[in-house]
């Protein structure tokens, strides 16, 4: 429980607030509103700040939660406690339906799409007869435990803030887990995550549903707090407001959501109650000032207030060292592996009229380091992408251990024991080296999202982190294990990628220009590591431009030029091959 005391302290303070003598009831109402907004913002933190999926439509999910409970408790006389699961279910189901449509949208379509259905649903709420049209539904029963009816704001205060605290804990637990790392990797594009077995569409849908369920919970609480619902608080305006609560607080930080809610709710309240007094009640002046303050706040702290506050703290929370005595079971292997691990047979890739890879064939045997070389644009990286399923081949076959891949997606290829690094480093810069490397072990853990929310994943998680720490150590970066990946030099980042690839426990390692950006000594260490891996039974296929490095290390060299294989053989033979010299230097020697 170390590191949890700030949360306990926060809980104690929040519990004490209603009991403070002289606390005006008005401030309690305000705190209730902050809590309600914080719940929605927390979902957005996960969805937008962490997962990179911007949604303007969260207010609609709040509406689903509120209306579900309103209808069930008034028209059908259900107890609010029974309508709670229904509220969560309805918002969750709505999220599944809308998510299936919109989560696939890339980049900027998504936020715009959410505006669209957010508005559409708002108008729907205000037009449907059984939802009371614009008047909404009133006389909703209050929450009650036994004889205690939570009628006044001070009573429901506890329900709201317990919900906020519990959800904050669950959310933080989720983020600090195998699934959480997959979610955090989403924002940086999916190629890297998919190369290690993350089902990105599923991960996106998961956060989308999670955020919607939190919004639904907020809606349920709202319905029994106000004891009346009408469409206004579920419109586009509210949806936008939730988003800037998250952004102002610091999208990407769970407590940023709570802080943002406090800032925005209190700011609006102050502006609404004091500005008219100051300036003699000119209409809507508060929106003007609010808008201007919002822009000013963003210009001062573009990443949000929470990270800015945290950077002011004199002490830094220290990273926990994983217990490296734990081990993961090795990836299951087929007994009696044949000699040929990878067989590329006249693979071809055309982009329109351009033939990037022209009927290339080669193989990689077990315990062998094969280098793929060639001038820029020769099709080396494209070949890598064909093997790992990032691109689909136009024709030809690629087989692993004698089985044809049939353009299997990256998530399937990695299961066969082929892992890779990228020419352009694809790490998550705001995650630590250890966390980045642990993504490599994604497929070797089992814990589900639900299990990790309730901390039932700790044994699984400890083994994953132990494995990651071992691989970081193996590549010689244990000194940097707690640093953010983005703070490392490019050469070191490439090495982190190798550690991540090793976490798969691969039989074949695909390295795309691993030595680029390394100094001489580091290159020698890398070469030593690769030899050691080969001697341990692994094969390596690497693309590299540093000829000294390649010729020294590789057992066999395959040369591509303009997508076509022009030579293959031992390094010495390649060095004197006239075709190769011609391709590199342009003249026959």
């Amino acid at each position: 429980m170390k590191g949890r005391w700030p949360i306990l302290l926060f809980a104690a303070v929040m519990a004490a607030i209603p009991h403070l003598p002289g606390m005006p009831p008005f401030w309690i109402v305000l705190s209730d509103n902050i809590g309600l907004s914080a719940l929605v913002a927390m979902g957005l933190v996960l969805l937008t700040g962490v997962g990179g999926l911007t949604s303007f439509g969260q207010a609609a999910f709040v509406g689903f939660g509120a209306y579900t409970s309103a209808v069930l408790t008034t028209a059908y006389g259900l107890s609010p406690w029974l309508s709670l699961p229904a509220s969560l279910l309805v918002s969750g189901l709505a999220a599944v339906l809308l998510g299936l449509v919109t989560v696939r949208l890339s980049g900027h379509y998504l936020p715009l799409g959410t505006i669209a259905w957010g508005l559409g649903l708002f108008y729907l709420f205000s037009k449907l007869e059984f939802l009371g049209r614009n008047d909404g539904i009133s006389a909703i029963p209050p929450l009650s435990i036994g004889p205690l009816k939570m009628l006044d704001p001070g009573a429901i205060y506890y329900a709201i803030w317990i919900a906020v605290l519990v959800c904050a804990l669950l959310t933080m637990n989720l983020l600090d887990s195998r699934t959480g790392r997959a979610i955090r990797a989403l924002r940086r594009g999916h190629v890297a995550a998919e190369a290690f077995g993350v089902q990105t569409p599923r991960a996106k849908l998961l956060v989308f549903i999670y955020a919607a369920v939190l919004a639904g919970l907020s809606g349920w609480l709202y319905a029994h707090f106000e004891r009346a619902v009408n469409p206004t608080p579920f419109g586009a305006q509210a949806g936008i407001e939730y988003l800037f609560i998250a952004v102002v607080g610091g999208a990407g930080y769970v407590w940023g959501g709570v802080l943002g809610a406090a800032i925005v709710v209190i700011l609006k309240e102050i502006l609404q109650s004091y500005l008219p007094l100051l300036l003699h009640g000119e209409g809507q002046l508060e929106t003007i000032v609010f808008g201007i303050l919002l822009v000013a706040l963003l210009q001062l702290a573009p990443t949000g207030v929470w990270p800015w506050l945290m950077s002011l703290l004199p002490f830094k929370p220290d990273g926990k060292r994983p217990d490296t005595s734990l081990t993961l079971p090795p990836r299951p292997r087929t007994p009696g592996e044949p000699n040929v691990l990878l067989q590329v047979d006249s693979a071809r890739k055309q982009f329109g009229g351009v033939v990037a890879v022209n009927d290339v064939s080669f193989d990689v045997q077990s315990r062998e380091i094969v280098a793929l070389i060639g001038p820029n644009g020769a099709g080396k990286s494209t070949t890598f992408n064909l093997i790992t399923g990032v691109l689909t081949a136009t024709s030809g076959t690629i087989s692993v251990l004698g089985r044809k891949l049939h353009n299997a997606p990256p998530q399937e290829v990695v299961k066969l024991g082929i892992s890779r690094t990228f020419q352009h480093v694809k790490l998550v810069p705001d995650m630590t080296v250890l966390e980045n490397v642990a993504i490599g072990a994604h497929l070797r853990g089992q814990a589900s999202a639900l299990a990790s929310m309730f901390r039932l994943d700790r044994a699984d998680e400890a083994r994953l982190l132990a494995e990651a720490a071992r691989q970081v150590d193996r590549v010689g970066l244990s000194g940097q294990i707690d640093q953010l990946a983005g703070s490392l030099s490019l050469g070191q980042q490439r090495i982190v990628e190798i550690a991540r690839a090793l976490c798969v426990d691969p039989m074949l390692l695909l390295l795309d220009e691993p030595a680029a950006g390394l100094r001489h000594m580091e290159k020698q260490q890398l070469a030593a590591l690769l030899r050691q891996l080969r001697d341990g039974g692994m094969s390596v296929l690497l693309v590299e431009h540093d000829m000294g490095f390649v010729m020294d290390l590789a057992d066999r060299v395959v040369v591509l030029d303009f997508g076509t294989k022009i030579a293959e053989g031992a390094p010495d033979a390649i060095k004197s091959n006239p075709e190769v010299i011609k391709a590199y230097l342009g003249v026959a020697a």
Binding site: T54, H108, L119, Q284, T287, L294, V295
Partner: protein, 341 residues
Amino acid sequence: MLFLVQDGITNGAIYALLGLALVLVFAVTRVILIPQGEFVTYGALTYASLASGQMPGTAKLAVAMGVAAFAFDLFAARRSLHGPRVARAFLVNIALPCAVLALTFFFVSRHPPALVSVALSLVIVAAIGLFLYRLAFQPLAHTSVLVLLIASVGCHLALQGLGLLFFGAEGQRGPTIADTALSAGPLRFTGQSIAVYGITVAFIVALWLFFGLTLYGKALRATAVNRLGARLVGIRTSLSGQIAFLLASVIGALSGILIVPITTLYYDTGFLIGLKGFIAAIIGGLVSYPLTAVAALMVGIVESFSSFYASNFKEVIVFMLLVPMLLLRSLAAPAVEEEKD
């Protein structure tokens, strides 16, 4: 039936103009321009106020924003202040809006001809657009699309509040630009609707020419593709942003002026109109101008039909229209790797 189509096309043409402006601004600055709707109302209501002999508050707003922009410029260049730079900043930020304010004062009591009102309204709103970029977005140019979007919402709130302050809660209508009308079979074309079509087409062609043929247009496109690269070859990206906002505010104001004789506009009407332009822009994928124009016409037609047959659900239908469109787009679009934040 036919008049519904006609009505839809008239509205659609306006949405097309707005959609184009949104695409333009997004492509160049990555800002999703929510305040576009305010440019529409500002343009329309400034024009209507001028026509009815009232002093529009927007002219003063332009001066106030100009003063603030001047301060921003001076602060940003505080380490390398020299005469020509200060003079240039003064000319653009202070002299220009003050001159416009003086002209407005001069004309407002003299019942100016429609064209003068139009020109004044356009210049006022253009200045506001320009300064809006300088004040709100230029300092945020390096941040993520999300932060820019939230800032954009902030601007929308502030400008909408100011709109209420300037124009009051009552709706206004403006005089038509052209009073002629002609009939073709069962349809009657008013001069106003012809002006709408003509100006929309002219703008689409002009934008196309601007981006295809002029150096500034190419610089804007370069900025859109790669900010850093554009800067390295000497394009001032802040200038590109200013041009984009200038164009967007002119387009917005013009759209407002075109529709204010047809429908009553309130201080907050622009938001909804802007959103529909938005839908068109989204269907166009925020990149394609012709597709946006076609989509806008479609939105207009769907809207006019649904307001006739199911007026209660008009907005629901229009906004829900987007969902299948997006689905189609995402199915058609190849999976692209996004490396940006």
